[in-house]
Amino acid sequence: MSLKNNVPEGPLADKWTKYKSTMNLVAPNNKRRIEIIVVGTGLAGASAAATLGELGYQVKCFTFHDSPRRAHSIAAQGGINAAKNYQNDGDSAYRLFYDTIKGGDYRSREANVHRLAEVSTEIIDQCVAQGVPFAREYGGLLANRSFGGVQVSRTFYARGQTGQQLLIGAYQALSRQIARGSVTMYNRHEMLDLVKVDGKARGIICRNLLTGEIERFAAHCVVLATGGYGNVFYLSTNAMASNVTAAWKSVKKGALMANPCYTQIHPTCIPVSGEYQSKLTLMSESLRNDGRVWVPNKVSDAEAIQRGEKNALDIPEEDRDYYLERRYPAFGNLVPRDVASRAAKVACDEGKGVSKTGLAVFLDFASAIERYGKAEALMAGISNPSKEKITELGRAVIKKKYGNLFQMYEKITGENPYKLPMKIYPAVHYTMGGIWVDYNLQTNVPGLFALGESNFSDHGANRLGASALMQGLADGYFVIPYTIGQFLSKEIRTPAIDPNGPEFIQAEKEVKEKINQLMGIQGNQSVESFHRKLGKIMWEYCGMARNAEGLKKGRQMIRDLRKEFYSDVFIPGTNDEYNPELEKAMRVADFLELGEVMMVDALNREESCGGHFREEHQSEEGEAKRNDADYTYVAAWEWNEENPILHKEDLVFENVELKTRSYK
């Protein structure tokens, strides 16, 4: 299969504008007759469904949540990027494009990323018009802050809840279309299969989560905006119900899974506290501006801390290893996410971890408290301030900057981070990989589109902070409403698709059989226990550092676990009622296949790039070594029970020069 990316001709900066103005259009009277299915109501899905409804299409929108407002996008904290250059600090679409390409370690498609940077500015305008309450300066204008990996201030934010405010904006736009009748909303409906007719995506099969009924839905095309698959690791910062099922079922119907091994592991999360742990909580990246990361120099000290006999304050300065400052003097504690995460792992692997489990490092604000305290005392004209006074003044500054995060930390851990350093550890956060799409965001299955975190398109091997929200809204508000016309303009003579056609009946039958199969196993182990085991395998062999031997072993372990799942899983209740255990079982079944393809992809990629670190491919100082000669391509996998099949899209860089990232 040859993968055609359909990137338009012409200079990079003109491609999108020119393409938009020469695209095929669908006339209003035809739009009214054309039906579109949108699965997902996160930033990508809600913005797409609302906009397509405004344009006059008949939209059916689906979410497994009880309301479209609950999608995982709601949890995003930090912000959203846009090349507005409101700060007059030299930002531009090109600079945002360049930062994103470089941040992604040169593994994304130039034309898509440039388009993203171009439309970023319109997103902010649209959200403001909807009433999104972004942070503002004293003069009433929009405020910005900086994020990792860039030198300009282009991140817009809404306190620590940017995702919530943006999603509520999109949800309200969607609600307006629901009220107008252009969008029909199906809550608590989980897509369990894709239906193809004559090779084109024409519908989906859903389970009504309240009644267990299996329902068929038809349309002229299908848009997936179903989020990322970080929960294949069981523990992640993703919401509990985030899953890969919609994407994976589409892969099993012929779509391709691109770069599944590219996973972002965020360095500052609250560590695991015990076996019962259900999810992990992110502590914003901004903390690394003032926090210093360290572990004890001596393993014996670390062990004493692990046993609870010592705490951080018992370790004298000379016995501490501020390892990021030592290893990366130029960037220090502010190295990019992937680098910081790996360094924490190295320290803990040496036995220097600082929690009961040995899997945590300190993030210490003592120096910052002292520094700020002295400065405040000076400004207040206090001569010879006491140590206590300095601490008091310094803590007040820290509280103003990070108060809500410190409070959140204390709520979860029960420890006071003003007195003792925080304990943090890396956790799975985001998946750059996803369904393969072309420039139109269309998959290799005609009529099937993928948006937001569910596709692979814009972040290469590593995503920069505040860029996922930007991509989700770009795809939904400003890209798909245009590009979907390239497909639909050829469908204006296609009558309404019949959900009673043989392909639909067959797909429904298969879904029912699958459910019966799972319900019929009646084994002895809970769904949760399988998910947890899978997560451990993924984390151990396909986590922060990978090697060929481990990946082969991990792959076999997943295959064995899958077999065990199909012979020993226990699902209580029945399939014709509200049954969260059954929902989970179907999601875990898909994770058990995806996990294997991630191992295969990671094994295939004989290089280290972005979030993918192969131990065999590192410099003597332990830095990542990319292999541009052999791996400047997108690896898109076709599912096959025996051996997934690789398809390649070569990445061509016409505008940027490939360089090695260095933070020393």
Binding site: S67, D125, A129, L142, S273, Y276, K411
Partner: protein, 248 residues
């Protein structure tokens, strides 16, 4: 720590529910929902039916979790959702009562799970700014004064959990509705439609069967986002104003 849980079990909307007793061994570092996970694992290993409860983000922002714990929506801690509650708020040997959010407009689906789609319909009735994609002017075209922006923001932090309704003896949705009305009405972008928005949203609220507001104030006390009851007073003023308006 050893706990006794008295949990409301109800097979479906039409069946009659009752409290059932369970013993569970918990750790003080667990979250409240992780403690329920442990109970469910235990029930599943005994091939019994696990307790149905809803949750998703588990960090206090999605508004999905919704338990009444010892009589209080979202439990004993101020400004905290159920999922942010930790077991160190309880003692060894405690007995804890767990019930669903109860209100006429939130029918029970199963055990602790209720249907809150009435909230979605209130938003659909007018909780938005009528602007199509692509119609927006530059984001900085209208400066917004800091105090106004901050007030609008405070109202916008509502997570749509429904604790205000569950806490209210009348089952009123006034706090939820007024928070949205104020969020949009305070901003220049939302002001234009303010009057018609108030009328439509209040009408929908009544249609859904939510009760009237008699200024009890329980909503504000139990709201995990500490949304102020001032929103209700402000909306009432807007509502009266809109009745005398000649516009639509």
């Amino acid at each position: 720590m050893k706990l006794t849980l008295k949990i409301w079990r109800q097979k479906n909307q039409s069946s009659k529910g009752a409290f059932e007793s369970y013993q569970v061994e918990a750790d003080e570092h667990m979250s409240f929902l992780e403690m329920l996970d442990v109970l469910n694992e235990q029930l599943i290993s005994e091939k019994k039916s696990p307790v149905a409860f809803e949750h998703d983000c588990r960090e206090g922002i999605c508004g999905t979790c919704n338990l009444v714990i010892d009589g209080r929506p979202h439990g004993p801690s101020q400004g905290t959702t159920t999922c942010q509650l930790h077991m160190r708020s309880f003692k060894d040997g405690d007995t804890i009562h767990i019930e669903p959010f109860r209100a006429r407009s939130f029918p029970i689906i199963k055990d602790l799970v209720v249907d809150r789609t009435a909230f979605d319909r209130i938003i659909q009735s007018g909780g938005y700014v009528s602007v199509n994609t692509g119609q927006a002017q530059d984001g900085n075209a209208i400066p917004i004064e800091g105090n106004t922006a901050a007030k609008a923001f405070d109202s916008a932090t509502c997570i749509g959990c429904g604790a205000c309704v569950a806490a209210c003896p009348n089952g009123s949705a006034m706090l939820f509705t007024s928070a949205k009305v104020q969020h949009l009405g305070l901003l220049p972008q939302g002001k234009v439609e303010h009057k018609s928005r108030v009328q439509k949203m209040v009408a929908q609220m009544d249609k859904e069967g939510f009760g009237f507001c008699s200024n009890v104030g329980a909503c504000e006390a139990e709201c995990p986002k500490e949304i102020s009851i001032d929103n209700i007073a402000a909306m009432n003023r807007g509502f009266v104003g809109s009745m005398f308006s000649t516009e639509e």
